[in-house]
C-alpha cells in the first residue's frame, strides 16, 4: 500500500465512487484505485439493472478493500446523489478506520497521475479540505443556471423528465415571491461536486446533531450535490482550499466536457490528478492513464490552464461564434451577429461617377482588392473583370441577389485582403442598413455625384429628369440611413460642390484612410467636366425637381455646345 510519511500521520486515501452505467469500466477504475493503495466504497444507482451490478460485484469479489453500499436512486439534480454519497462515505469511514482522506469520484473519472502522487500531494497539507466552495450570493459560479434561487425556491420536480413542471413551478414561485427560510447557522455555498475531504470534516458533517434538519432543507434545493457538502463543510472546517482536485469542466448548458484520445497529450501535460468525463470507448486513454508511478511520488501542483483555454474557446465558439460567418449551423438573426462581417472594408460612393477611371487609379495606390460596382443590378463587377471572385463567388447578379448579405459576408471572409468597392444609387440598395450598422464598414460618400454621368449622357431632358428623380430618391433614402442613430459605420461625406472645389485634398484623405501613401494621391484621376452643371441643376429645378445633396453651384449661362438638350 502506498503510504507517505510526513508530519507524523500517514495519509491513507479512501475513495467514494458513484456509478450508474458503464459498470465494466467502473470496475476497472475501482481496481486502479485499489492498486494505488486506496480503499473504495462503491455506490451504484438503484435504477441500474441488477444483472449489471451483480457482474460488477463478481468482478471485484477478490478485492478486500472494496465495499458496495446500499443503492439509492440518483436522479440528476435531486437529493438522491447526496443521499448516495452520505451512504457510501459513512460505510467507508466505518469499515476502514485508518482512512484519513476521502475523495469523491464517479465511475467515469480517470486518474491521470499515479495515485501515489495524489497521496504525496495530500501529505503536504494533511489537514486541508480540497473542496470548491464559493458563496452563492457573491459569485455566479454556476453556468447558465440558477444561483441564489437554488436555495430560496423549492424544486420538487425533475429538471430532466418534467421540464415543463420544473420551469412553471419556478416561475410561479418567483411571481408569488415565495422564499424558503435558510436554516440558521449555514451560509449557502456552491462548488464542484467532486471533492476531497479529511476524515475529521466528513465525520463532522455526517454526525452533525442538526443533520436531519439540514437534510430536510437540502431535499428541496436544486442540484444539492453541488451545495450540500460545499455549504456544510464551511460549518465544520477552518482549513478549506477552495478548488477541486478533479478536472471537471462544464459548458454553458451545465454538461461536463468529454475527453477523447486526441486529448491525451494535453491531459498528461495538465498534471491534473483526476479528469472527467472520459468517453467510455476512448480505450487509448484508459490504457495510458494513470501514468506509472515514478521513483519518488511527485507532489507537484496541477497546471490545468491549457485545457481550461481549450474549453473556454469551445464555449466561446458555441456562444459567440466567428464574426461575419453565416453557415449551415450559424445563421444569426439580424443584430444578433456578434460581428456582421469578418474584416474591415470600404465602400466608395459616387467616386466612379466623378472620376471615370477611379477604380484603376485607386487599385494602384492601396494594398487591397478594389472592385467595381459589386452591387450593380446586372452583373457583379469584380476587380479586373474576373468571372469568379474571392471564395469562388460567381459574377452572377441573380445568385448574389438570392442572399445579398451572405454574398458580402462570404466575399469579405473569404479573402485575406481588404475589400473595397464602388457604389452609387444605380446599384442595389438592399444592403444599406447592413453596411451602415456594421462597425467594419468605412463609407466614403460624395453626395450628388450620380448627376454627372446623367448630365453628360446626352439623353432627352424628360428622361434625364425622370431618372434624376429616381436616383435622388434613392440617395435621400441612403442618407437617412447614414444619419440614423443606429449608424455604426465610419462615414466620410462630401457634397458634390465641396468635393469638386478641392478634389486633390479629398482624394488624399481617402487614400490615407485606406492605408495608402497620401503623396501618391497628388495626381488625381481625370475628373468629369463640370462646366455648366449649375445651369443643369437650375433646369431640373425649373422642371420641378429640386437637387438636394449637391451643394451650391453658381448658375452660369448655358455654354454654347455642351449640356443636354
Amino acid at each position: 500500500m502506498t503510504m507517505a510519511v510526513a508530519g507524523g500521520r500517514q495519509v491513507k486515501l479512501g475513495v467514494v465512487m458513484l456509478c450508474h452505467n458503464e459498470l465494466a469500466l467502473a470496475a476497472r477504475m475501482v481496481r486502479t484505485w485499489v492498486t494505488g493503495g486506496a480503499a473504495v466504497s462503491v455506490h451504484v444507482d438503484a435504477r441500474t439493472p441488477d444483472a449489471e451490478v451483480a457482474g460488477m460485484q463478481a468482478a471485484l469479489a477478490d478485492q478486500r478493500d472494496v465495499v458496495f453500499c446500499r443503492r439509492r436512486p440518483c436522479e440528476w439534480g435531486m437529493f438522491g446523489m447526496v443521499d448516495a454519497t452520505q451512504e457510501a462515505a459513512a460505510m467507508l469511514l466505518d469499515r476502514f478506520e485508518h482512512v484519513t482522506h476521502v475523495l469523491l469520484v464517479s465511475g467515469s473519472c480517470l486518474p491521470l497521475r499515479p495515485i501515489a502522487d495524489l497521496v504525496a500531494f495530500l501529505q503536504r497539507h494533511p489537514q486541508r479540505d480540497f473542496l470548491e466552495s464559493v458563496t452563492a450570493v457573491d459569485v455566479g459560479w454556476t453556468v447558465g443556471g440558477l444561483n441564489e434561487e437554488r436555495f430560496t425556491l423549492r424544486f420538487p420536480f425533475s429538471f430532466r423528465h418534467r421540464r415543463w413542471l420544473f420551469d412553471n413551478y419556478v416561475d410561479l414561485q418567483r411571481r408569488l415571491r415565495v422564499r424558503r427560510r435558510i436554516p440558521e447557522g449555514i451560509v449557502p455555498h456552491l462548488g464542484s461536486q467532486w471533492w476531497c475531504l479529511t476524515r475529521g470534516t466528513l465525520t463532522a458533517i455526517l454526525t452533525d446533531p442538526r443533520r436531519p434538519e439540514f437534510d430536510r432543507y437540502f431535499q428541496r434545493v436544486w442540484v444539492p450535490d453541488e451545495s450540500y457538502f460545499q455549504t456544510l463543510a464551511r460549518r465544520h472546517s477552518v482549513n478549506i482550499e477552495s478548488r477541486s482536485l478533479t478536472l471537471a469542466k462544464f459548458d454553458d448548458q451545465g454538461k461536463p466536457y468529454i475527453f477523447y484520445e486526441d486529448h491525451r497529450q494535453m491531459l498528461e501535460e495538465s498534471g491534473c490528478f483526476i479528469a472527467r468525463k472520459i468517453w467510455p470507448h476512448a480505450t487509448g486513454l484508459y490504457d495510458y492513464f494513470p501514468r506509472p508511478a515514478g521513483v519518488a511520488p511527485s507532489a507537484a501542483e496541477p497546471q490545468p490552464a491549457r485545457i481550461g483555454r481549450l474549453i473556454n474557446r469551445a464555449v466561446a465558439r458555441r456562444n459567440l461564434g466567428r464574426p461575419g460567418l453565416y453557415m449551415q449551423s450559424r445563421f444569426p438573426r439580424q443584430d444578433c451577429e456578434n460581428g456582421k462581417t469578418a474584416a474591415p472594408y470600404a465602400v466608395l460612393y459616387g467616386f466612379s461617377d466623378m472620376f471615370p477611371g477611379f477604380q484603376e487609379w485607386l487599385q494602384a495606390r492601396v494594398d487591397a482588392d478594389v472592385h467595381g460596382h459589386l452591387l450593380a443590378p446586372d452583373e457583379v463587377e469584380f476587380a479586373g473583370g474576373a468571372q469568379v471572385g474571392p471564395g469562388a463567388l460567381p459574377n452572377s447578379a441573380a445568385l448574389r441577389d438570392l442572399d445579398p448579405k451572405g454574398f458580402l459576408a462570404n466575399l469579405i471572409r473569404a479573402s485575406n485582403r481588404t475589400q473595397i468597392w464602388q457604389f452609387s444609387p444605380r446599384d442595389r440598395q438592399n444592403l444599406n442598413w447592413f453596411m451602415a450598422t456594421d462597425p467594419n464598414a468605412r463609407l466614403f460618400v460624395i453626395t450628388g455625384a450620380w448627376a454627372l454621368p446623367l448630365y453628360q449622357s446626352g439623353m432627352p431632358f424628360d428622361d434625364v429628369r425622370r431618372i434624376a428623380a429616381i436616383l435622388q430618391r434613392k440617395e435621400t433614402d441612403m442618407l437617412a440611413v447614414l444619419q440614423s442613430v443606429w449608424l455604426k459605420a465610419r462615414v466620410h461625406s462630401w457634397n458634390l460642390a465641396d468635393f469638386s472645389a478641392r478634389p486633390a485634398a479629398a482624394l488624399q484623405t481617402v487614400v490615407q484612410r485606406l492605408g495608402g501613401e497620401p503623396a501618391q494621391a497628388a495626381d488625381p484621376p481625370a475628373i468629369r467636366d463640370l462646366t455648366g452643371i449649375g445651369r443643369f441643376f437650375q433646369r431640373l429645378r425649373n422642371a420641378g425637381l429640386r437637387p438636394q445633396n449637391m451643394g451650391d453651384f453658381a448658375v452660369e449661362e448655358p455654354p454654347q455646345k455642351a449640356g443636354p438638350t
Binding site: D252, W279, A314, R317, M327, S329, L393, L399
Partner: protein, 328 residues
C-alpha cells in the same frame, strides 16, 4: 404540419408493398447500433469504397433499397454480411425520389438508433473524424440532447474536364475530385419548415448562374436519432417535426455540424446524367440533369482559380463550412 407528417408516413407505409426483401439481416442489428440507409441504382463501381468508408467510421448495419439496378449492385450488396437489401422496380419519382421507401425503412428499423441517410456518392465528414469514430459523435449528441446533425452537401470536382481522369472501381473518388468552392453558398431560411435553404457551390456557379432559384439545395440533415413519428419531408433536406430542422444557432453562436463530400462529378457522371435524363425520374422534371447535360456536351470544367484543394476537416472548419461548436 402534423397532418403533413402523417400524410408522409401514410405514403411511406402504403408503399412498403413495393419493396421486396432480397436479404433481410436486420435481426443482427443490436441495441444502439448506428445504421445507414440508402437508395441506389446502378452504382456498383462506387460501392466498395463507400462501404469501406462507412464501416471504418463505425456504421454497423446498412439498409439499402436497390431500385432496379442491372449492373450487379444488388447481388454485390446481398453478398455482404452487414447489409440488408430490398429491391423495387417501382418508380423513383412516384416514391418522392426514394424518400417514401427510406421513411418506411427508417420507421420500421431505425427507431431508437442513430440513422445516417445518404446517397452512394455522399461521404460524411465531421469535426474530429480523423481521431474519433462516429460513435463518439453520436454519444456526444446524446449527452447534449441533440437529435439531428446537419451536414451540408459539398460538391467536389476534379481539375480539368471531368472525363479526363477515369474513375476506377474501388478507388477513393476524392483522389480525382478533390476541389471545392470555399465560400460560394447562399443561405435563406425556410419559414414554413424552419430549415435553411443553401444553394450555390460549383453547380450554382456553372449550371445555374441565371436561374439560381432552381439550383439544387445543398442543406442536408442526414444524421438523426430516429423515432417512429419522424419523417423526411423532402430528400434529406428537411424533416418533420420541424424542431429537427433547427440545426443552426440564431443568436450568433455555432452549433456543431459536418458536411457530406459529394463525389458526383467523376468520369462516370456523363453517362449517368444521360441515362437519368432519359428516365425522367428526377426532381422538377429532371431540370437539374437537363442543365448538366446541355453544359456537359461542351465538356465544362468546374475548376476555377478560387477553388480549394481538400485537405481535412480542419480546413473545412477554418473556412467556416463546418463547425466544431462546443465539441472540443
Amino acid at each position: 404540419m402534423r397532418a403533413h407528417r402523417q400524410y408522409l408516413l401514410g405514403r411511406a407505409i402504403r408503399r412498403r408493398r413495393r419493396l421486396h426483401p432480397i436479404v433481410n439481416r436486420t435481426r443482427q442489428i443490436g441495441r444502439g447500433d448506428i445504421l445507414l440507409f440508402m437508395t441506389l441504382r446502378n452504382e456498383k463501381p462506387r460501392l466498395a469504397y463507400f462501404l469501406d468508408y462507412y464501416r471504418r467510421l463505425g456504421v454497423q448495419h446498412f439498409l439499402v433499397v436497390d431500385n432496379d439496378s442491372d449492373d450487379g449492385s444488388g447481388e454485390y450488396l446481398a453478398g455482404q454480411p452487414d447489409i440488408s437489401v430490398w429491391s423495387t422496380r417501382a418508380s423513383y419519382k412516384d416514391s418522392r425520389f426514394g424518400m417514401d421507401w427510406m421513411n418506411y425503412l427508417l420507421r420500421r428499423h431505425g427507431s431508437g438508433h442513430w440513422c445516417l441517410t445518404v446517397d452512394p456518392d455522399e461521404f460524411l465528414v465531421y469535426p474530429h473524424c480523423d481521431t474519433r469514430p462516429l460513435r463518439a459523435l453520436t454519444d456526444w449528441l446524446d449527452a447534449s440532447t441533440i437529435k439531428s446533425f446537419s451536414a451540408m452537401l459539398l460538391d467536389m470536382y476534379p481539375k480539368g474536364q471531368i472525363t479526363e481522369q477515369p474513375y476506377v472501381e474501388g478507388q477513393n473518388p476524392f483522389e480525382i475530385a478533390c476541389w471545392f468552392d470555399p465560400a460560394n453558398y447562399a443561405i435563406r431560411k425556410n419559414g414554413e419548415f424552419g430549415n435553411l435553404w443553401i444553394q450555390g457551390g460549383p453547380r450554382g456557379r456553372v449550371f445555374f448562374p441565371e436561374d439560381p432559384q432552381n439550383a439544387p439545395a445543398l442543406n442536408k440533415i442526414p444524421l438523426v436519432r430516429w423515432e417512429r413519428s419522424y419523417a423526411y419531408a423532402s430528400s434529406t433536406h428537411m424533416l418533420l417535426p420541424r424542431s429537427l430542422n433547427l440545426v443552426y444557432d440564431e443568436d450568433g453562436g455555432e452549433k456543431a455540424s459536418g458536411c457530406l463530400l459529394h463525389a458526383k462529378f467523376l468520369s462516370t457522371f456523363v453517362a449517368k446524367s444521360a441515362e437519368e435524363l432519359d428516365r425522367q425520374q428526377h426532381y422538377a422534371d429532371s431540370q437539374e440533369y437537363r442543365a448538366y447535360h446541355s453544359a456537359l456536351k461542351d465538356d465544362i470544367d468546374l475548376w476555377c482559380d478560387q477553388s480549394r484543394r481538400f485537405d481535412d476537416w480542419r480546413q473545412l472548419e477554418d473556412l467556416g463550412l463546418i463547425s466544431k461548436g462546443n465539441w472540443a
